[in-house]
Amino acid sequence: MLYIKCPYCGMRSQNEFSYGGDASVKRPELNKEISDEEWDNFVYNRKSLRGKHLELWHHLAGCRQWIKVERDTATHEIFNTYKADEVIS
């Protein structure tokens, strides 16, 4: 069982959350000519790192906020959690 510290609600069990995938993926800018390759990278291609991975989680059965979680994909250790719009230095 994972325990994820929601920046809004505090420590909660993984049962309250739903996974949203790699948080480092950026949507191509609006109103810009976008190549197939750029779309490909946004929609499909993923690094799927082994080790530290920044990812989106949705506190679906809680405050319903999207958050970012920095987690180790091999050990499941959670290093840090952030609000979705928080700038990570």
Partner: protein, 418 residues
Amino acid sequence: MQKYSIFNLIKNAFSNHENWDLAWKDPTPKEEYDVVIIGGGGHGLATAYYLAKEHNITKVAIIEKGWIGGGNVGRNTTIIRSNYMHDENALFSEFGMNLWRKMSQDLNYNVMFSPRGIINLAHSDAQMNAYARRGNSMRLNGIDAVLLNREQVKEIIPMADFSENVRFPIFGGLMQPSAGTARHDAVAWGYARQADSMGVDIIQNCEVTGFDVAAGKINGIRTSRGNIKTKKVGLCVAGSTNILAEKLNMTLPIETHLLQACVSEPVKPILDRVVTFGAGHFYISQSDKGEMVMGGDLDGYNSYAQRGNLPTLQHVLTEGIAMMPFLSKLKMLRTWGGIMDMSMDGSPIIDKTHIDGLYLNCGWCYGGFKATPASGWTFAHTIAQDRVHELNAGFSLNRFSTGHLIDEKGLGTKTWIS
């Protein structure tokens, strides 16, 4: 190579079975090979076998980080089927079914192929219609499919919950009678033994640490046991594809996820089919030892842990008990996890890459085991001829950018959508 036969069994009995040949050798890596297969799982071993058998290429090495049979080929739920709707998956899998049927004879190794049939349960009229459509598509592709009504299903699996007041009543099901199971370890051992006997070097405990690529061509690989020169490399490492792709500066339409399976304590024969629950993701069969073999959903987030989490197991087994209530009386014997290549459309990739001499076999999602022979056969063809076979032409890497996705039933990485 010693043939496995009743006569050799009797002959060796006189010497207390102490003089059998090793099933495969433990060679040190040579300096150069014609083809290097990375990954000694079922698919890698099958690829090497078919390279030698069908294409007469025997200067081949299989590089395995762990040991033969220690990865997903020993971690799956052994289901073999070809009940697909889309042509690409259906024709590929049915080609594989024909290889499964003669595999024990082919490999001189009893893989215990048991075509006991698979039943996908339906729990609504709409689902019955969808299954009728899938069944018709299968039959058009020459695959056996039978649509069963509630009474017919009840006759075959009376232990399922047929009471009236359940949340997901059984309306009927789609059956592929020729589907079944096989002994997964025997598949790995059988392919390894035959490949080895034809000259393939199976190199275990050898990790690939890098690739020598120059001017868009592959020249060799670097491993923990030294550098190996080769013009052709086949990447066959589902579960670790992203890790090796990173060393090649490739980003692939694959996420690495964890899938769990479990078995109950052994009980007397009760279930002689493979059955899947239609209102969720749960499948069950009974092994020859009597254990109920069960599996279902991914854990749901990127993972390389090879060990699962309990909430998913609980969720999966809740579905199992809803379908077959007697399961609640059984004790759990073992649970385990394997790491999967989850491709973005739920279908695999067997293709060339932008690097000359580098071939890719990955993205097997939930269905790697049953694809073992067909995957090996087509991948061997792709490597030997430097072009894809028509059976794997649809499993291209660029289908994601061209829009030719093979979305069988929305079983890609995004389990959170379902």
